[in-house]
Subunit: 271 residues, 2 copies
Amino acid sequence: MSRQGEDAQGAVAQDEGAPGSPPLPPGLDLLWGRRGRGQRGPKPGLSVDAIVASAVRLADAEGLDAVSMARVAEQLGFTTMSLYRHVSSKEELLQLMWNDSAQGAEDIVLTGDDWRSRLGTWAMIQREMIDRHPWITQMPMAAPPMAPNSLTFVERGLEAMDDTGLGDADKLRVIGLISSYTLSEARMAHDAARAARAAAAAADGEAMPVWTFEALLREVADEQAYPRLHRLAWSERIGDHPAGFDEQEGFRFGLDRILDGVEVLIKTAQP
Amino acid sequence: MSRQGEDAQGAVAQDEGAPGSPPLPPGLDLLWGRRGRGQRGPKPGLSVDAIVASAVRLADAEGLDAVSMARVAEQLGFTTMSLYRHVSSKEELLQLMWNDSAQGAEDIVLTGDDWRSRLGTWAMIQREMIDRHPWITQMPMAAPPMAPNSLTFVERGLEAMDDTGLGDADKLRVIGLISSYTLSEARMAHDAARAARAAAAAADGEAMPVWTFEALLREVADEQAYPRLHRLAWSERIGDHPAGFDEQEGFRFGLDRILDGVEVLIKTAQP
DNA sequence: CTGAACCGTATGCGTCATAAACAGTTGTGG
DNA sequence: CCACAACTGTTTATGACGCATACGGTTCAG
């Protein structure tokens, strides 16, 4: 009873790149325009772009966990399985979202006379991009981002160091270092914010105090066992927090330390 | 119909800390020994320690995703719901796992005459701890780690900078910077390893090439659009990789840059 | 010795990703 | 021109997950 021209069960047209070039990982082939589109059949009422846009909207509003195939489809007025005609898996959808979030990385221009100010604003731009789409920090990053937009952004970062005399390899490592730090700081900040939001939502009526880092530390950091932390927890306040706890300032501090370190590298490399 | 002495539906005895101290976030009360245990009833055949140990074993072997209440219980020979008598939610279990993974942080001793070598080995120890339990990098970290073991480890980090003349706040920021970087690098490394393992498993028979970063870059980085990346992708090889791609070396490089930056801070602060 | 407090179990709900088979629509080759 | 292949979205089903709820058995305090 089985038909002979059975559906290609995975759906989604296969790639058709130059012979000899093996298929790219999921999502990337599409991103780099290497996936064909047939002619026959009805006009699609659904498109990859629409799906990605819908998913991003969901993630922006409710976090990455809210992005399920079911909810994305529902938001578009289609059934869950219809998405699989355009996207081969959820993983691929996530890849596409990631690339989409880096939109705008193409047109950035780094002004500034010295590499340090250029690289500094490069990092701040990266941080702002993440802050605009905090769910990025929840993404499982199988590989370094390889989407066109991301690559452009990295290229800009390398460009910022053109006049440093550093080797290519070192430049790439510096980019990696800064990105690593930026992503990590953003992740912590947004995880904390998410947790605070969740706690506030859970303790709707009343009860359940919201714990800040400092408050917890004061509660728990015994003077005997943790003398230094104890001192920190009970130190003078600057503004709202004891010194050393503010996030904004914390990020900038770390970034400046890293740039100092890069400066040392540059100076020793080229005396 | 309804009993009056209904079960406390959440199970798990409530805390009984000093009056005036509100209940700690899930998991922490248990960690800091602030949760009571009743007397009546049968001797428990199950314990929090056993549950955590089982969960950690699972995570070590198959990653954090393999840790489900069902599988943990199964491994112990109990039913899924039995776990909830000892642990209030999966989130709490994860907290307990996190603390457990930091076991051994208590006894580390940082030898070395200068702050730099001490702080360096502190960072390397942290990295090794993560490498021993790679699932740590997959954990949703609501707040900075507040478990006893983690606090001890932070205290050791602060201690390493005792003779730097830095202010307490700056010391804490340095600790944050290094931890942030270490965690992020470890995360990328293990995500990549996981992905590679998954890809290898999926492409069991044959087909499906495994893409390395460099290979992908060569495939995709056009010379016109990405001249610097193109040059990097096709640069000389050092050992297995083109320069700048090795993970081990990459981590150490970044760490050294950061320590350079800290050194600058110390020197300018105390002339 | 009785009942409250405690232990582990059984059952079920809602949600998730996705496999498989199918029905409707359209361009194209004979 | 028209049958069929290629393409569209839909239906239905599967096995996992976290956890709420209700329950029967155990043990110790009064």
